[in-house]
Protein backbone atom coordinates (compact mmCIF):
# COMPACT_ATOMS: atom_id res chain seq x y z
CA UNK A 1 0.00 0.00 0.00
CA UNK A 2 1.13 3.51 -0.67
CA UNK A 3 1.77 5.34 2.57
CA UNK A 4 2.74 8.86 1.61
CA UNK A 5 0.90 10.39 -1.30
CA UNK A 6 1.54 13.78 -2.91
CA UNK A 7 -1.52 15.43 -4.45
CA UNK A 8 -0.69 18.30 -6.79
CA UNK A 9 -3.47 20.57 -8.03
CA UNK A 10 -3.96 24.32 -7.95
CA UNK A 11 -7.54 23.82 -6.79
CA UNK A 12 -8.01 23.05 -3.10
CA UNK A 13 -11.30 21.44 -4.04
CA UNK A 14 -9.68 19.15 -6.58
CA UNK A 15 -7.04 18.14 -4.02
CA UNK A 16 -9.77 17.31 -1.54
CA UNK A 17 -11.76 15.31 -4.10
CA UNK A 18 -8.65 13.29 -4.96
CA UNK A 19 -7.86 12.75 -1.30
CA UNK A 20 -11.39 11.56 -0.58
CA UNK A 21 -11.30 9.19 -3.54
CA UNK A 22 -8.03 7.73 -2.27
CA UNK A 23 -9.41 7.38 1.25
CA UNK A 24 -12.51 5.59 -0.01
CA UNK A 25 -10.29 3.42 -2.19
CA UNK A 26 -8.60 2.12 0.96
CA UNK A 27 -5.92 4.72 1.66
CA UNK A 28 -7.48 6.35 4.69
CA UNK A 29 -4.30 5.67 6.68
CA UNK A 30 -2.02 7.32 4.13
CA UNK A 31 -0.27 10.62 4.75
CA UNK A 32 -1.33 13.17 2.15
CA UNK A 33 1.04 15.95 1.16
CA UNK A 34 -0.60 18.72 -0.85
CA UNK A 35 1.03 20.91 -3.47
CA UNK A 36 -0.55 23.86 -5.29
CA UNK A 37 1.62 23.57 -8.37
CA UNK A 38 4.29 21.47 -9.97
CA UNK A 39 7.16 23.33 -8.36
CA UNK A 40 5.81 22.67 -4.88
CA UNK A 41 5.17 19.03 -5.73
CA UNK A 42 8.71 18.62 -7.01
CA UNK A 43 10.16 20.07 -3.81
CA UNK A 44 7.99 17.80 -1.69
CA UNK A 45 8.93 14.78 -3.78
CA UNK A 46 12.63 15.50 -3.30
CA UNK A 47 12.38 16.07 0.43
CA UNK A 48 9.82 13.48 1.48
CA UNK A 49 9.53 9.74 1.42
CA UNK A 50 6.47 9.93 -0.82
CA UNK A 51 5.68 6.74 -2.69
CA UNK A 52 2.94 8.03 -5.01
CA UNK A 53 2.25 11.30 -6.85
CA UNK A 54 -1.17 12.21 -8.17
CA UNK A 55 -1.03 15.37 -10.25
CA UNK A 56 -3.21 17.67 -12.30
CA UNK A 57 -1.93 18.87 -15.68
CA UNK A 58 -3.04 22.47 -15.83
CA UNK A 59 -1.28 24.28 -12.98
CA UNK A 60 0.44 27.65 -12.63
CA UNK A 61 4.22 28.02 -12.20
CA UNK A 62 4.96 24.45 -13.25
CA UNK A 63 2.40 22.34 -15.08
CA UNK A 64 1.89 18.62 -14.69
CA UNK A 65 3.77 17.68 -17.84
CA UNK A 66 6.88 19.57 -16.74
CA UNK A 67 6.55 18.12 -13.25
CA UNK A 68 6.43 14.62 -14.70
CA UNK A 69 9.54 15.27 -16.81
CA UNK A 70 11.42 16.64 -13.80
CA UNK A 71 10.35 13.77 -11.57
CA UNK A 72 11.49 11.18 -14.08
CA UNK A 73 14.73 13.04 -14.84
CA UNK A 74 15.93 13.09 -11.24
CA UNK A 75 17.59 9.94 -9.89
CA UNK A 76 16.10 10.72 -6.50
CA UNK A 77 12.52 10.69 -7.74
CA UNK A 78 12.59 8.72 -10.97
CA UNK A 79 11.00 5.66 -9.37
CA UNK A 80 8.10 7.63 -7.93
CA UNK A 81 4.92 6.40 -9.64
CA UNK A 82 2.88 9.21 -11.13
CA UNK A 83 -0.84 9.29 -11.86
CA UNK A 84 -2.09 12.21 -13.91
CA UNK A 85 -5.65 13.40 -13.32
CA UNK A 86 -6.99 16.05 -15.66
CA UNK A 87 -10.02 17.41 -17.41
CA UNK A 88 -7.82 18.10 -20.43
CA UNK A 89 -6.66 14.61 -21.32
CA UNK A 90 -7.05 13.14 -24.77
CA UNK A 91 -5.42 10.15 -26.47
CA UNK A 92 -2.51 12.14 -27.91
CA UNK A 93 -1.74 13.82 -24.61
CA UNK A 94 -2.22 10.56 -22.76
CA UNK A 95 0.28 8.85 -25.05
CA UNK A 96 2.77 11.66 -24.47
CA UNK A 97 2.38 11.42 -20.71
CA UNK A 98 2.70 7.65 -20.68
CA UNK A 99 5.84 7.94 -22.83
CA UNK A 100 7.24 10.39 -20.28
CA UNK A 101 6.74 7.84 -17.54
CA UNK A 102 3.27 8.40 -16.09
CA UNK A 103 1.74 5.17 -14.90
CA UNK A 104 -1.79 6.21 -15.86
CA UNK A 105 -3.78 9.19 -17.03
CA UNK A 106 -7.26 9.61 -15.58
CA UNK A 107 -10.00 11.97 -16.64
CA UNK A 108 -11.85 14.14 -14.16
CA UNK A 109 -14.10 13.47 -12.44
CA UNK A 110 -12.29 10.51 -10.91
CA UNK A 111 -14.06 7.94 -8.79
CA UNK A 112 -12.81 5.77 -5.93
CA UNK A 113 -13.49 2.63 -8.00
CA UNK A 114 -11.38 3.85 -10.90
CA UNK A 115 -8.50 4.97 -8.72
CA UNK A 116 -8.62 1.73 -6.72
CA UNK A 117 -8.40 -0.25 -9.96
CA UNK A 118 -5.43 1.75 -11.20
CA UNK A 119 -3.58 1.48 -7.90
CA UNK A 120 -4.28 -2.26 -7.86
CA UNK A 121 -2.59 -2.54 -11.24
CA UNK A 122 0.25 -0.39 -10.03
CA UNK A 123 0.82 -2.67 -7.05
CA UNK A 124 1.13 -5.60 -9.44
CA UNK A 125 4.16 -3.99 -11.08
CA UNK A 126 7.35 -5.58 -9.78
CA UNK A 127 9.10 -2.26 -9.19
CA UNK A 128 6.26 -0.90 -7.08
CA UNK A 129 4.65 -4.02 -5.69
CA UNK A 130 7.08 -4.17 -2.79
CA UNK A 131 5.96 -0.86 -1.36
Amino acid sequence: MFQTIIIADDSATARMVTKRCLEIAGYQQAIFLEARNGAEALEIAKKSAADLLVTDLNMPEMDGTTLLKRIKASPRTTDLPVLVVSSLSNPAKEAELLALGAFAVLSKPISPAVIAGILGKLMEQPQWGQL
Partner: protein
Amino acid sequence: MSDISREMEAALVDSVSRTMEDMAFEQIEQLSEADAKAILEAPQMGNFDGENSYAGLGEGLMCLPQSNEQIWAALNLIDPIQGEIIIEVPQGYAAMMTESLFGPADDPYAEDLLRDALAEVLNTLAGLFVKALIPSSREYSLGFPATGTGSSPNLQPGAKTWYFDLSGQIMTVTMSIGEFGEFNLGAVTQREVIS
Protein backbone atom coordinates in the same frame (compact mmCIF):
# COMPACT_ATOMS: atom_id res chain seq x y z
CA MET B 1 -23.32 33.06 -32.62
CA SER B 2 -24.41 29.50 -33.29
CA ASP B 3 -27.55 27.75 -32.24
CA ILE B 4 -27.17 25.22 -29.48
CA SER B 5 -28.03 21.86 -30.99
CA ARG B 6 -29.97 19.12 -29.21
CA GLU B 7 -26.76 17.10 -29.11
CA MET B 8 -24.98 19.93 -27.34
CA GLU B 9 -27.86 20.40 -24.94
CA ALA B 10 -27.92 16.69 -24.08
CA ALA B 11 -24.15 16.67 -23.60
CA LEU B 12 -24.31 19.69 -21.31
CA VAL B 13 -27.10 18.29 -19.13
CA ASP B 14 -25.32 14.94 -18.87
CA SER B 15 -22.03 16.66 -17.99
CA VAL B 16 -23.69 18.69 -15.25
CA SER B 17 -25.38 15.59 -13.82
CA ARG B 18 -22.22 13.49 -13.86
CA THR B 19 -20.10 16.21 -12.33
CA MET B 20 -22.49 16.96 -9.50
CA GLU B 21 -22.95 13.28 -8.72
CA ASP B 22 -19.24 12.50 -8.74
CA MET B 23 -17.89 15.66 -7.12
CA ALA B 24 -20.65 16.97 -4.93
CA PHE B 25 -22.38 13.62 -4.30
CA GLU B 26 -25.58 15.28 -5.35
CA GLN B 27 -28.41 13.89 -7.45
CA ILE B 28 -29.76 16.76 -9.45
CA GLU B 29 -32.95 17.26 -11.36
CA GLN B 30 -33.36 19.45 -14.40
CA LEU B 31 -36.20 21.94 -14.10
CA SER B 32 -38.16 23.92 -16.60
CA GLU B 33 -37.66 27.67 -16.50
CA ALA B 34 -41.18 28.10 -15.15
CA ASP B 35 -40.64 25.61 -12.33
CA ALA B 36 -37.28 27.14 -11.46
CA LYS B 37 -38.76 30.63 -11.29
CA ALA B 38 -41.63 29.38 -9.14
CA ILE B 39 -39.11 27.97 -6.67
CA LEU B 40 -36.98 31.08 -6.77
CA GLU B 41 -39.95 33.30 -6.11
CA ALA B 42 -41.47 31.16 -3.38
CA PRO B 43 -40.94 32.49 0.15
CA GLN B 44 -38.70 30.41 2.41
CA MET B 45 -37.29 28.36 -0.41
CA GLY B 46 -33.60 29.00 -0.70
CA ASN B 47 -33.79 32.34 1.06
CA PHE B 48 -31.51 33.21 3.88
CA ASP B 49 -33.58 33.63 7.01
CA GLY B 50 -31.54 36.54 8.28
CA GLU B 51 -30.27 34.92 11.43
CA ASN B 52 -28.18 31.82 11.56
CA SER B 53 -29.20 29.37 8.91
CA TYR B 54 -30.60 28.92 5.48
CA ALA B 55 -34.23 27.96 5.08
CA GLY B 56 -34.50 24.65 3.34
CA LEU B 57 -30.95 23.50 3.99
CA GLY B 58 -31.61 21.71 7.23
CA GLU B 59 -29.84 21.91 10.54
CA GLY B 60 -26.15 21.65 11.23
CA LEU B 61 -25.23 24.41 8.84
CA MET B 62 -24.81 27.18 11.35
CA CYS B 63 -21.23 27.80 10.26
CA LEU B 64 -22.15 28.70 6.73
CA PRO B 65 -21.75 32.24 5.41
CA GLN B 66 -24.69 34.39 6.27
CA SER B 67 -25.61 35.65 2.85
CA ASN B 68 -27.66 34.30 0.04
CA GLU B 69 -25.86 36.10 -2.75
CA GLN B 70 -25.19 34.17 -5.91
CA ILE B 71 -21.72 32.81 -6.59
CA TRP B 72 -20.80 32.26 -10.20
CA ALA B 73 -17.99 30.70 -12.17
CA ALA B 74 -17.40 31.35 -15.86
CA LEU B 75 -15.14 29.63 -18.33
CA ASN B 76 -14.33 30.00 -22.00
CA LEU B 77 -14.40 27.09 -24.36
CA ILE B 78 -11.45 27.81 -26.63
CA ASP B 79 -10.84 24.99 -29.08
CA PRO B 80 -12.32 23.29 -31.07
CA ILE B 81 -15.62 24.56 -29.67
CA GLN B 82 -15.72 28.25 -28.91
CA GLY B 83 -18.14 29.54 -26.39
CA GLU B 84 -18.65 30.19 -22.74
CA ILE B 85 -20.36 28.54 -19.82
CA ILE B 86 -21.41 30.16 -16.58
CA ILE B 87 -22.73 28.32 -13.56
CA GLU B 88 -24.38 30.13 -10.72
CA VAL B 89 -25.53 28.89 -7.32
CA PRO B 90 -26.68 30.54 -4.10
CA GLN B 91 -23.79 31.10 -1.73
CA GLY B 92 -25.60 28.89 0.77
CA TYR B 93 -25.52 25.99 -1.63
CA ALA B 94 -21.85 26.60 -2.43
CA ALA B 95 -21.16 26.46 1.29
CA MET B 96 -23.12 23.24 1.66
CA MET B 97 -21.25 21.70 -1.27
CA THR B 98 -17.94 22.80 0.18
CA GLU B 99 -18.89 21.36 3.54
CA SER B 100 -19.74 18.03 1.91
CA LEU B 101 -16.25 18.00 0.41
CA PHE B 102 -14.18 19.40 3.24
CA GLY B 103 -16.20 18.41 6.27
CA PRO B 104 -17.77 20.55 8.99
CA ALA B 105 -15.90 23.66 10.07
CA ASP B 106 -16.19 25.78 13.18
CA ASP B 107 -15.93 29.00 11.21
CA PRO B 108 -17.54 29.89 7.89
CA TYR B 109 -15.62 28.72 4.89
CA ALA B 110 -13.70 31.49 3.20
CA GLU B 111 -15.43 32.77 0.11
CA ASP B 112 -12.30 31.90 -1.86
CA LEU B 113 -12.86 28.24 -1.07
CA LEU B 114 -16.51 28.40 -2.14
CA ARG B 115 -15.42 29.94 -5.42
CA ASP B 116 -12.69 27.36 -5.85
CA ALA B 117 -15.22 24.56 -5.39
CA LEU B 118 -17.54 26.05 -7.98
CA ALA B 119 -14.66 26.69 -10.39
CA GLU B 120 -13.56 23.07 -10.11
CA VAL B 121 -17.11 21.89 -10.76
CA LEU B 122 -17.24 24.08 -13.87
CA ASN B 123 -13.81 22.99 -15.08
CA THR B 124 -14.79 19.35 -14.76
CA LEU B 125 -18.18 19.65 -16.41
CA ALA B 126 -16.77 21.74 -19.26
CA GLY B 127 -14.18 19.05 -19.97
CA LEU B 128 -16.87 16.37 -20.01
CA PHE B 129 -19.06 18.51 -22.26
CA VAL B 130 -16.41 19.14 -24.88
CA LYS B 131 -15.18 15.54 -24.83
CA ALA B 132 -18.73 14.31 -25.47
CA LEU B 133 -18.90 16.32 -28.68
CA ILE B 134 -15.53 15.87 -30.35
CA PRO B 135 -13.63 12.85 -31.65
CA SER B 136 -11.73 11.13 -28.85
CA SER B 137 -8.42 11.76 -30.58
CA ARG B 138 -9.03 15.50 -30.89
CA GLU B 139 -7.13 17.78 -28.53
CA TYR B 140 -9.11 20.56 -26.94
CA SER B 141 -8.54 23.50 -24.68
CA LEU B 142 -10.47 25.39 -22.07
CA GLY B 143 -9.81 28.71 -20.40
CA PHE B 144 -9.21 29.15 -16.71
CA PRO B 145 -12.37 29.67 -14.68
CA ALA B 146 -13.15 33.16 -13.45
CA THR B 147 -15.35 33.47 -10.39
CA GLY B 148 -17.31 36.12 -8.64
CA THR B 149 -20.16 37.01 -6.34
CA GLY B 150 -23.29 38.83 -7.37
CA SER B 151 -24.11 39.56 -10.99
CA SER B 152 -22.48 37.20 -13.43
CA PRO B 153 -20.88 38.45 -16.64
CA ASN B 154 -23.21 39.03 -19.55
CA LEU B 155 -23.05 36.36 -22.20
CA GLN B 156 -23.38 36.80 -25.91
CA PRO B 157 -26.88 37.16 -27.31
CA GLY B 158 -28.30 33.72 -28.00
CA ALA B 159 -27.08 32.22 -24.74
CA LYS B 160 -29.35 29.59 -23.26
CA THR B 161 -29.94 28.84 -19.59
CA TRP B 162 -30.74 25.53 -17.94
CA TYR B 163 -32.04 25.15 -14.41
CA PHE B 164 -31.29 22.37 -11.94
CA ASP B 165 -32.75 21.55 -8.55
CA LEU B 166 -30.09 20.95 -5.92
CA SER B 167 -31.82 19.97 -2.70
CA GLY B 168 -34.28 22.81 -3.09
CA GLN B 169 -31.68 25.29 -4.32
CA ILE B 170 -31.48 26.34 -7.93
CA MET B 171 -28.31 26.07 -10.00
CA THR B 172 -28.34 27.80 -13.35
CA VAL B 173 -26.05 26.87 -16.20
CA THR B 174 -25.86 29.33 -19.07
CA MET B 175 -24.02 28.64 -22.28
CA SER B 176 -23.41 30.36 -25.56
CA ILE B 177 -21.67 28.85 -28.51
CA GLY B 178 -20.11 30.80 -31.31
CA GLU B 179 -16.89 31.65 -33.00
CA PHE B 180 -16.64 34.79 -30.86
CA GLY B 181 -16.68 32.85 -27.66
CA GLU B 182 -14.70 35.15 -25.44
CA PHE B 183 -16.92 36.86 -22.92
CA ASN B 184 -15.94 40.40 -22.14
CA LEU B 185 -12.89 39.80 -19.96
CA GLY B 186 -12.69 43.51 -19.37
CA ALA B 187 -15.82 43.16 -17.31
CA VAL B 188 -14.26 40.69 -14.93
CA THR B 189 -10.89 42.30 -14.34
CA GLN B 190 -11.99 43.28 -10.86
CA ARG B 191 -12.91 39.75 -10.04
CA GLU B 192 -10.69 36.92 -9.05
CA VAL B 193 -9.38 34.74 -11.82
CA ILE B 194 -8.43 31.33 -10.53
CA SER B 195 -5.18 30.25 -12.06
